[in-house]
Symmetry: C2
Subunit: 306 residues, 2 copies
């Protein structure tokens, strides 16, 4: 993951003389987010929990999804049942809508649906949950138009309403949710989507989010956009097949991904956010003093070899 | 362009009985943004100005870029010079960084740069301009963390500071900017980028935006991500070639795209925004009463045949 935001210009050599502008005085140098991450200690990182990590293996590679059972216990449980019974194996990605979502599940769901096995056909939506479900929230000080409070919980972007005492996951890039029809219990986790574009935050509290993609997003974002309404693939368009979806705990250890996530409740994380809120020179000329929730990066890395 | 945000669930038939939830009372039905657009009059749309429209033709199709000379007069003029002299023909897309930008220009710019012809090698950055440059601003009432005021001007997302009397284009999805090095005059328009992911608004007022992609974004967003730092393609990775970049005015009329943009200063546009700010039932269960700048859609369509 690259946090640097420098735009390299190929066509020009580096210029030795800085040309000042009245409206763009140079900012003092400051450590960047990636500079700060380089100073992290091993204890600032947490491994993914194999009991709450999914591997969606495509012919092109692996998409790793961290589940968030605190925010959607019933939906996550149903997805785990589907996965344990290998429901997704041989299904496909059926939708790619530009600047919105990729969605996967049963391509024949409307005509000849695959059996859900022992999983439930209806699971009540968990659009928000009691605030007490979330033990790991760390507030972000920035204003947000979609939620009274925002922050992170175990690396997930979160909105919360202290008056209503509710909390919910936010539709940032990479978040994974449960497709549904009009009824709030019409989803069951057999059809999932990942956000592949600008955060559609109006979906917050309207649909159940169950986790986020922590690795492999380009496998979803580079898929051809579907030619039918809402980016669904037509019958004659290729659908990316799903080889298998497995719970990490059910995969032999040697075949597991070895990822770890920067702890959002570690002090270093606040420094990472501040480095993104107020960037320093020499490239940056203006510091926003603001960080929108979905622009806050939660670093993920391969666990360093011992 | 699809404005509908319904998530179809394939695996379930439509359910006849609505199951109420304590926390998700049904919202009253309201016209959606696409419903409202269907009621538009021909005069609610404006054609693209051929003198300020670029066609970037790739082997895979055409990317149409509307330029915004009001916001970056010097940079737009230099780009037009480059385009008129066919500078971009035979160059390539050199960078695709996931959830960030695609960038194009001279792949050999650091070693054996192509001549810029009569274009300037240095153009002062136009990170913001006097508020008087912008005659078409219509304010959006929603709060924004990156700008004292936000709105749209001729379909471009805009931030402005009434105290400083400055205005600038905002880094929403699809916006096109001028790559630069550390110095504020180190860009010249020979290296351009388009935002392909969540809006990196911290770039606002740090780099010159010159326009936006109004058609063809998937040609950029589905490109393989580059394997080098910041998503640059390595020497052994394929670079998407640029067949040509032309000003629409210099293309025979029969070969021009026939697009029109909903006028952001027409009253209907405020209704479109309000429909996105407060969505109605039956799918939506919670109305945000907020619309983040980069979630406001500026509809573009083919001009209807007479």
């Amino acid at each position: 993951m690259t946090l640097s935001h420098t735009f390299r210009v190929f066509t020009l050599p580096a210029l030795a003389i800085s040309v000042g502008m009245a409206f763009a005085a140079d900012l003092p140098a400051r450590p960047s987010a990636s500079d700060i991450i380089k100073t992290s200690k091993p204890s600032d990182w947490r491994p993914l929990d194999p009991a709450n990590t999914l591997y969606m293996d495509l012919p092109t590679g692996r998409v790793v999804i961290e589940l968030a059972p605190d925010f959607a216990p019933e939906n996550v449980a149903n997805i785990k049942t589907l996965v344990k019974e290998h429901y997704f194996d041989g299904l496909s990605i059926n939708r790619s809508q530009d600047n919105y979502v990729a969605q996967w599940g049963d391509p024949n769901g409307e005509t000849k649906p695959k059996s859900l096995g022992t999983a439930k056909a209806k699971v009540q939506g968990e659009f928000s949950v009691p605030i007490t479900n979330d033990k790991h929230f760390v507030q972000q000080k920035d204003f947000d138009g979609y939620a009274p409070q925002i922050g992170h919980s175990n690396g997930f972007p979160v909105g919360r309403d202290p008056k209503a005492k509710t909390t919910w996951l936010a539709h940032c890039y990479g978040m994974v949710g449960v497709g549904r029809d009009n009824d709030t219990d019409s989803g069951n986790g057999a059809e999932l989507y990942a956000v592949t574009g600008h955060a559609p935050r109006h979906l917050d509290r309207n649909i159940t989010l169950v986790g986020r993609v922590v690795s492999g997003m380009p496998l979803l974002t580079t898929l051809p956009r579907g030619g039918e309404a809402m980016g669904f693939y037509g019958a004659n368009e290729p659908h990316m097949p799903i080889v298998s979806v497995r719970l990490a705990a059910e995969v032999p250890e040697a075949e597991r991904s070895n990822l770890e996530v920067l702890r959002s409740d570690a002090p270093i994380y606040q420094a990472v956010l501040e480095a993104q809120r107020n960037r320093g020179g020499p490239w940056n000329k203006y510091a926003a003093n603001y960080l929108e929730l979905c622009n806050a990066t939660i670093p993920v890395r391969e666990h360093p070899k011992q």
